[in-house]
Symmetry: C2
DNA sequence: TTGTAGGCGTTATCAC
DNA sequence: GTGATAACGCCTACAA
């Protein structure tokens, strides 16, 4: 910067003003400075800027693993952030609690301005203290005054799916849950229990079908179904990936859907459209967009627009009617 | 840092030594300093460190858009980088040449230590000059002394697929190419032409099937096939995504594979396994790992191990035999 | 083994 | 309008 200041015959302060379009600078000197910048092929050192301003213009997105749904989140969040000049760094904690804490530390270390936490590993009590170093927004539901969430209650969305199955004649529905400790799962279990009570149906235990996340998991469930003497007539799944595995494996095993059993996915990502799987359209991309908006708001105090979150059932070919 | 130096009764230099485990420091003072760090809950400002050291310990991964294959690359690259203490930032250029240049500028601006470029938008001549500011490794093939590549020639892999189709009786093969300007596509066209010459088959024009990247594109091809009076009996695709769209739409339209026509995907990602699509297992994850290794090597001069790259045909149910 | 001090490349507060 | 100059928080010769 000194070099170009010298070349333009001004001081580095003026160069700074030109670059940041701040303060007064005559259009004449501005021209000179800009010319010098061009000639010397100068580019500001962003580390120095960050050190001075105290902001890295970088946001972190943290996930414990990788799934198609998360990719949608990453994509949408990144796009929104780029729009406002933020850069997004992606961290895979790989089920390692320490790694999650490491990322949180980066908030303190000024490496990150904010964090979008998809799936947490540590207790909220361990995460919450970091909120004072920068905005943390989570995808999962959380009870905290310091951590915002783009969470959307799954109770009603899930109920919608269950009622759709009931209306099409299903009376023995099995629920495939993902992580057992999440509040989303709790909501779903509650929705299922209420549903059973409402229709005087027997409630089956939830424990058997926990921790199902991938298409491989779904495939195993198809196998399981075949081996049962008393077979359920429908599956509510936690994600389209699981549903996709279930559906394709069932077809491989000679089953016909929805005659043999019905399946409802969750999230409405590409694969469910491809495979004609009925699913709940859950506004994942909008959640990510809102996550950025919330972080941006906390960072800048600027007004932001939050997309309304809604869901709907998309009836395709793995459910009757 | 001054604060904790004061608290420990030493100078900031000593604190720095303790933190970086560099230079001499008696175990006694080290204890004191560490205690102070604990108590004051101190964490170094990474921007200041970066400014001083000239390295941000951050790598960029640049893609023009999002596809399943790229997600595999991102995942594998990120994991490898995290292993060595690097952080990975993800940039979507969204087909915008300027955005790509912006990322390249970050290399100059010291925001990025290195770049893994998946799909380039600008001419190599515009990209190459940036290599002097930091390592650039590309996924695509490139002829440059300054830009390394984890590219793997697709000629032989593609030929393998074509010969498999020929052996199973296909004589009228249509190639679905992705981007028309890439060297990969050129290799594939060459492979196809040589294949035709070898077997005395007529060569069809390549122009018709360029720019096919997504499952939607694949679906359109299925529709196209149905409308032809003289129908080809096989498709070689540029990715499993395209193949997946083609296969599912064909089934929707009442076609039977591989009786009506054969399909071979590319990359062997999850969806091809799910849909039983024959494909070429292409070592995408290894390429990403190597990309990091190459960058790491240029950055640190340390010895690195490069995974050998190989491919194979995975025969599933969209090809005969 | 430890301390002093200069500088990394900016931004921002003053004077002028 | 513009120019000194003091931080920002850290690392690292060089001295002691």
């Amino acid at each position: 910067m000194q070099d170009i200041a010298r070349k333009a015959g001004v001081s580095s302060a003026t160069v700074s003003r030109v670059i940041n379009q701040s303060g007064y600078v005559s259009s004449e000197t501005r021209k000179k400075v800009e010319a010098a910048i061009q000639q010397m092929d100068y580019v500001p050192n962003s580390q120095a800027v960050s050190l001075k301003t105290g902001s890295s213009k970088t946001l972190g997105i943290v996930a414990s693993n990788f799934s198609d749904t998360m990719m949608v989140l990453v994509r949408s969040f990144t796009l929104a952030a780029q729009q406002e000049g933020y850069t997004v760094t992606f961290y895979i904690t790989d089920e390692d609690k320490q790694k999650e804490l490491d990322v949180l530390e980066m908030l303190r270390g000024k490496r990150l301005d904010g964090i979008f936490l998809l799936i947490r590993l540590n207790d909220w009590s361990a995460i919450e203290p970091y909120a004072k170093y920068g905005p943390i927004v989570t995808w999962q539901r959380v009870d905290s005054n310091h951590i915002a969430s783009v969470y959307m209650d799954q109770y009603h969305a899930y109920t919608l799916g269950l009622e759709h199955l009931y209306a099409s004649g299903c009376r023995s529905i099995v629920n495939l849950y993902s992580n057992s400790h999440g509040l989303n799962t709790k909501s779903r279990i509650k929705a299922y229990e209420d549903f059973c009570t409402r229709h005087l149906l027997p409630v089956h235990s939830a424990d058997l079908f926990m921790g199902l996340n991938t298409s491989r998991d779904g495939e195993r469930v198809a196998q399981w179904w075949l081996e049962q003497s008393v077979k359920p007539d429908a599956f509510m799944t936690s994600s389209d990936s699981v549903a996709a595995g279930l559906v394709t494996q069932a077809q491989r095993l000679g089953c016909h859907l929805p005659e043999d059993f019905s399946v409802i996915g969750f999230d409405n990502i590409e694969i469910s459209r491809l495979l004609d799987i009925s699913t709940i359209d859950y506004p994942v991309a909008k959640q990510a967009k809102n996550a950025f908006a919330l972080i941006f708001h906390q960072l800048t105090n600027r007004e932001v627009f939050l997309e309304p979150l809604d869901f709907q059932l998309i009836s395709r070919k793995t459910t009757k009617n």
